[in-house]
């Protein structure tokens, strides 16, 4: 399935837009409602984190979200361009939520620094 790639200015109001896009894409993959709700929440958390990290930048840099079907697994990657240490201080609640919602959560180096890419996966869809 071709991926969907969304790029948006790091503003809190766009996090909802990203949630809506992710939910629409995930719904087409046949996920059940409760998993879809988890995708909505997890994507929201990941994008909110990226936006908040981006607030440290002098010049706003876009946050990117990409979603695709990887052989039956839904993969979502959210990337920011903040050059920060791996984790932002009040991140624990957010990561706790992510880990409780997605089948797999992986924090990776992003375009500008450690922890700038968050990858979420949900298991077999069919």
């Amino acid at each position: 399935m071709p991926s969907v790639h969304l790029r948006f200015s790091p503003l809190p109001e766009h996090v909802r837009t990203a949630r809506l896009v992710a939910t629409t894409v995930a719904r087409r993959l046949g996920l059940t409602d409760d998993v879809l709700e988890g995708v909505r929440l997890a994507v929201g958390e990941a994008c909110a984190r990226a936006v908040q990290r981006s607030e440290t930048l002098d010049e706003p840099q876009p946050v990117e979200m990409e979603l695709w079907d990887d052989g039956g697994r839904l993969v979502v990657e959210v990337r920011d361009r903040a050059a920060l240490p791996r984790e932002l201080v009040p991140g624990n609640l957010s990561l706790t939520l992510l880990e409780g919602l997605a089948d797999r959560v992986e924090l990776r180096p992003g375009p500008a620094g450690p922890g700038g890419q968050l990858r979420l996966e949900w298991g077999a869809l069919r």
Partner: protein, 129 residues
């Protein structure tokens, strides 16, 4: 409007009804409203989440902040929530142990008052969104 917050008095408690989505963008509105209420002397709050469509960690943070604030005044903050998708957020983060959560406003008022004197501050029938 993505989020609206209204409040009213019931049974000596201040019911805060929240409608819409509580996320990183809208949570500041709720934070401000809760702070205003506490500042006006309403220390026993019941936040009605039944019409909340979405709650993220920023929203949780605002509720935790509200709880800390009322406690500083020997007050209380109870929640009304029966929606599974919202309860799940509290459950995953362990916050079901922190907030008393009830099925109805009446149950929350009852639990919140439990024989304590009613809040004697002036009524707070206001709307903000």
């Amino acid at each position: 409007m993505d989020l609206s917050v209204t409040s009213r008095e019931q049974g000596g408690r201040t019911i805060v009804e929240v409608r819409g989505e509580i996320d990183v963008y809208t949570a500041p509105v709720l934070r401000e409203r809760l702070n205003d209420l506490v500042g006006e002397g309403h220390h026993h709050l019941i936040v009605d989440m039944e019409k909340v469509d979405f709650l993220d960690s920023t929203g949780l943070g605002v509720l935790v902040g509200g709880l800390k604030r009322v406690r500083a005044h020997s007050g209380s903050l109870h929640l009304v929530c029966t929606q599974e998708k919202i309860l799940k957020v509290f459950r995953i983060t362990g916050l079901t142990k922190v907030f008393p959560i009830h099925d109805t406003v009446e149950a929350a008022v009852s639990a919140s008052t439990g024989g304590e004197p009613a809040d004697t501050s002036s009524p707070a029938d206001t709307t903000s969104s």
